[in-house]
């Protein structure tokens, strides 16, 4: 499938779903969160599934984006035009530093995962202790009763849906283009056999860093969107290890060998868990169901739903 076709198909599906749910605020909200988690999972999997770098600290980058927006607007009244690039810049810089440190010492597999987890946890506790960032109570962003497009404040939900759809489609587009270029080939080669790839002229550290920084930048973009949409950030929702784990869950369930696999995982699990949460009498019932699903799928369907589907399609 050419990259153009993948992007067109994803766009078409998104538009159809958007058209179907746009009349209903509740369903539109589910759609927006599905796109949000879908984008995060796709960019997380660029590292994990396509380059072989499992990060358990991606919430750190989402948090940088979200807190940049929340702090910028509540303390200084800055526009998203300032805070979004600021959040992304901080995240890319953080990924650069963390990546330089980790790759220099050759951390991989479990060690890279746990190192990133530790960086994420440090950020979590530090923000929880910082007065100007609202400590563990979080920050409520100023909301006015009228729409302020310049501050991305809308009463209606559809403008948010359009923004996150654009981010998602952009991510898939950039990802698909990269996968067909030298970068994508190098990433997959590094995932499989770093030593062999290096012997064939691949600058392992540079290409891993590139992947990490891109993934972090997109995560921060999503975080910035989240802050503007929800108008409230706290450490648990945007910096917690649970958020990092969610990205892993959607990727495993959807399929890690394909760029758009994690999107399938999010599209199945996000609406499912929101509906289950809202309509089931059992608190935490949604997580029980998808924890079981995760463990079972990880063991029995290692290629994920999308991977399974594609392999069935080809044979």
């Amino acid at each position: 499938m050419s990259s153009f076709r993948t992007v067109t198909m994803v766009t078409a599906v998104l538009l159809v779903v958007f058209a179907a749910v746009s009349g209903n605020r509740y369903y539109l909200d589910i759609f927006i969160f599905t796109c949000f988690y879908g984008t995060l999972a796709v960019c997380w999997n660029m590292m994990a599934g396509l380059t072989g770098l499992m990060s358990l600290g991606h919430a750190l980058f989402v948090g940088l984006g979200a807190y940049s927006v929340a702090w910028g607007v509540s303390v200084h009244g800055w526009s998203p035009l300032v805070t979004w690039p600021m959040g992304m810049g901080l995240a890319v810089a953080a990924a650069f530093v963390i990546g330089m440190l980790c790759f220099r010492y050759g951390l991989r597999g479990y060690f890279f995962a746990i190192a990133t987890l530790a960086f994420g946890e440090v950020a979590f506790f530090m923000v929880s202790a910082t007065e100007t960032l609202g400590r563990s109570d979080g920050m409520i962003m100023p909301i006015s009763s009228t729409d302020i497009p310049g501050q991305l404040q809308f009463f209606e939900k559809w403008p948010y849906a359009l923004i996150i759809m654009t981010i998602l489609i952009g991510t898939i587009g950039v990802g698909e283009a990269l996968m067909r270029s030298r970068t994508g080939y190098y990433w997959r080669a590094l995932r499989d056999n770093e030593q062999a790839a290096e012997a064939l002229g691949v600058n392992a550290r540079a290409f891993k860093l590139r992947c990490f920084m891109l993934s972090a930048g997109i995560s921060a973009l999503c975080g910035a969107f989240y802050a503007n949409y929800v108008a409230f950030v706290d450490p648990r929702s945007v910096l917690g290890v649970e958020l990092s784990i969610q990205m892993l869950v959607y990727s495993i369930v959807g399929g890690m060998s394909l760029l758009w696999g994690p999107l399938v995982g999010a599209a199945v699990l996000v609406p499912f868990s929101i509906l289950l949460r809202d309509y089931s009498a059992m608190p935490g019932g949604d997580i029980v169901v998808y924890a079981v699903l995760l463990a079972v799928l990880a063991l029995l369907l290692p290629q994920g739903i999308a991977g399974w589907f594609v392999s069935k399609w080809r044979t």
Binding site: D192, E198, A199
Partner: protein, 240 residues
Amino acid sequence: MTPLLEVQGLSKSFGGLHALSDVSFDVAAGEIFAVIGPNGAGKTTLFNCLAGAAAPTSGTIRLGGERIDGRAPHEICHRGLARTFQLVKPFRGMTVLENVKVAAFSRHPSAKQATTAAQAVLDRVGMAELAAVDAETLNVAQLRQLEIARALATQPQLLLLDEMLAGLTATESAAMCERIRQLPREGIAVIVVEHSIPVVTSLCSRAVVLCFGKVLRRGATREVIADPRVQEAYLGNAQT
């Protein structure tokens, strides 16, 4: 004329273990050179040092007059030294062509040019009809060929081949030897690590023998093989 590869006083130790000590030899352009020695003599460590996978403890390595010791593997690759691995593992989920493409990207950054270059290399090694095959389904001989194709796609001046004949049938070995003999005519010098003495004598003009990390003998292959010390080192190895 300066030799293509010049190794001087190369040593490598891991903790207290001296894997290589004071190894010196040189390889001329267009030559097929052999590194022989019993198991554990330090042949793979030598390859790792040459290709940059391990940094030497001391000594110098010059490729075309420029020092490459301690440089990163990808830089050494760009300077024209390619290697194969004893244990051949193709990149998972990629076709044969895509595997070679990864290597071709080192000379051709654009995907289109890399594809063309990779196809040309597959033609050259006679694997063109396997281009679209999933690399994981190849047999041992085909995997070895793929390994050579990948190395050639980086357009090396010097190619290090690590036990390319192990596990091949007689016919496959003969074909592989023929392939290796071609390389100098394409302007590529070769260093082989090989156990089979007849293969070494038929392929290589000169050889160096390593034993416990030291150079036991160096020179024309026939003389080296005839040396009683070399015979003893080999027979000693054969008995264990």
